[in-house]
Subunit: 374 residues, 2 copies
């Protein structure tokens, strides 16, 4: 095994440790850390478990200390640049330098303005620093974090469960269930990983979902619930309002008595300007959510909501669960596909996508994870 | 490595050899053969290359002979039972027994009525015979052959190239190209492997396809071309008639002058009874094709043709190429999905499918290979 292969393997283990942490850790990124001796043997590992808890490097150094071992001369692997700033916890770069490690291998630099500089601090302290090992995989794991840090708006994931012929319901509106139990459980896991979940009024009226997290044994807070409803016309008796705090994104022109009725059940209206077509401006929604600290949103449809986000170029990722059944039906006499809107008539103008991961088998279903190519 | 693991590995190699033979070898199955010494070392290999050529066992024994080696005491692996009947070539079982092999490992028995008995012949000749190693994989490789042998009708493969939202064309009918070049080349390879290709009149009128095999360097005969056209109303100037011999499946009630016009360009009308809804009876078509020696058909659509085959339970396999683009559009104002027909309104009544292979990446596209669960 060459040094480069060993470095890549330890960085892959960092990503594995980072990915294993359950639930939501936003606004922080997923970070894992491995400390090895000079010959590449693993001495200690650590992972960041969320805001207010130790960063991965500090966790790994602490694990090493508890074993009664010293970091002197060791190599520390971490998928994100050690931080140089005081946040909820003290900065990591000085702690790493002080530990005596001889070399730090960093997957990717910190994209957050004002957070970087850790690599430079370490080099100044005499530590050998290598940056960019498995950088693509590091970016992939924290793609929502990078999207948020680089664009200042939430990372939007469009999710749909469709049949083999692209449909999300029958012509009479049946949609429960298209996907199988394992894919539905995965969907709930996503609700626990992303900050918020958004659906359109049509989905609330058709399915009356709770938009809560239902995972056996999970102790993860529910996501922020966002209902897209231009005229705030949804019934205050919808199940999404059973617990207070749901955001209702609507136009500033929405009727005051409707807003009052929603506030009365604990919902929070989010008053937004209209776009050119008189609908909620999604860029304005993205800014409003960003201002509330929402770093990622799982957009669960329906078809018109998905089409709006795609048209506004506010779709950062698609997660399509393809279930092994087909509904059939001629256009106009069949159920809706997951993507509505006006549709494109020229193939050359169709939105195109690239895989973010290979197709994955989830129970009887297949998960396609893609990003748009603008 | 245990004996069972060794057997499985040699049988897997038989399947690999069988699968590597290019093009169409129907009505014969794909068969590969490996001969090993007592310690499991490979002495010779062979594969069947099509009607009139040596069977795999004979090819492997001949390869062994050419190396100046004897089969005495050896083990012969083959994915299909050695034949016991005189066909275009002499039977294999006696030749295998005469070669002196001590043991024959067979993947699966021969399903063709009157072709079996090879295993019994070998046992009578004092050879140790084991049957059923990797039987599922053996059936999978030759699933069209088994389907044909067991049902006496062609094995029908429904193929479609669809967008991420299930569509095969835009609302204005654009369909070239939805899938990428590698998937289209794979489609041509399928045309070279299956006996026939079938499309509906709508597809001929929309795309005017040649239905020929266009693979660089391939020396494989074109498939039998089948056009489904109840009233024989297609234009005799369609490109599918550029070379004679295309079958036009139509109702017995089709206008004689239309049939005459088709015959005039070298097409062959196939006169069929009507089903209850006044359309071509697909079971009658299946029988007619079976009588003509057609063992497998690639059904390339369009949406109504696919729906008809699925409704008639004459869909043995789906091959869906999912391309990374989306067309969108509300029902009634969007392009057709790959599956038309009347559509199901109850999810519980939707046709369901099971994978025949894991999802495969083909260029930028994903191939889903499924079989219906009736």
């Amino acid at each position: 095994m060459t040094q480069a292969e060993r470095d890549a393997a330890h960085l892959a283990r960092c990503l594995e440790l980072a990915a294993q942490v359950p639930g939501r850790i936003s606004p922080n990124p997923r970070v894992g850390c491995v400390i090895t001796d000079r010959r590449g043997r693993v001495l200690a590992e650590g992972a960041h478990r969320g805001p207010g808890t130790a960063h991965a490097e500090v966790a790994a150094l602490e694990a090493l200390r508890q074993k009664g071992r010293s970091a002197r001369g060791a190599t520390l692997y971490v998928n994100l640049e050690p931080c140089a700033h005081h946040g909820r916890t003290p900065p990591c770069a000085p702690a790493v330098a002080a530990s005596g490690v001889a070399r730090v291998v960093i997957g990717a630099l910190d994209p957050v303005a004002g957070h970087g500089g850790g690599a430079r601090q370490l080099r100044r302290a005499g530590v050998r620093v290598d940056v960019g090992v498995a950088a693509d995989a590091c970016r992939l794991l924290n793609r929502a974090f990078y999207g948020w840090a680089e664009r200042g708006r939430p990372y939007f994931v469009l999710k749909a469960a469709m049949t083999l012929d692209g449909k999300i319901a029958t012509a009479t509106g049946q949609s429960r269930w298209i996907s199988g139990a394992p894919a539905r459980e995965l969907g709930h896991r996503w609700r626990g990983e992303l900050d918020a979940i958004a659906v359109g009024r049509g989905t609330v009226e058709a399915d009356d979902p709770q938009l809560t997290l239902r995972l056996p044994g999970a102790r993860i807070a529910d996501p922020v619930r966002i209902l897209l409803d231009s005229h705030a016309a949804v019934s205050p008796r919808a199940r999404v309002f059973a617990t207070p705090g749901a955001l209702v994104a609507c136009l500033r022109s929405a009727a005051p008595r409707r807003l009052a009725a929603l506030r009365a059940v604990g919902a929070v209206p989010l008053l937004l300007p209209a776009d050119r077509r008189g609908r909620i401006s999604l860029p304005a929604l993205a800014r409003a959510l960003g201002a509330r600290g929402v770093t990622s949103v799982l957009v669960e449809g329906g078809a018109e909501v998905h089409a709006s986000f795609l048209a506004a170029r506010l779709a950062d990722e698609l997660r399509l669960v393809v279930a092994p059944l087909a509904l059939g039906g001629q256009p106009g006499r069949s159920g809706p596909s997951w993507l509505g809107g006006r549709g494109v008539t020229q193939l050359a103008r169709a939105p195109r996508f690239a895989p973010l991961a290979p197709p994955a088998v989830v129970g009887d279903d297949v998960l396609l994870t893609l990003r748009p190519l603008w």
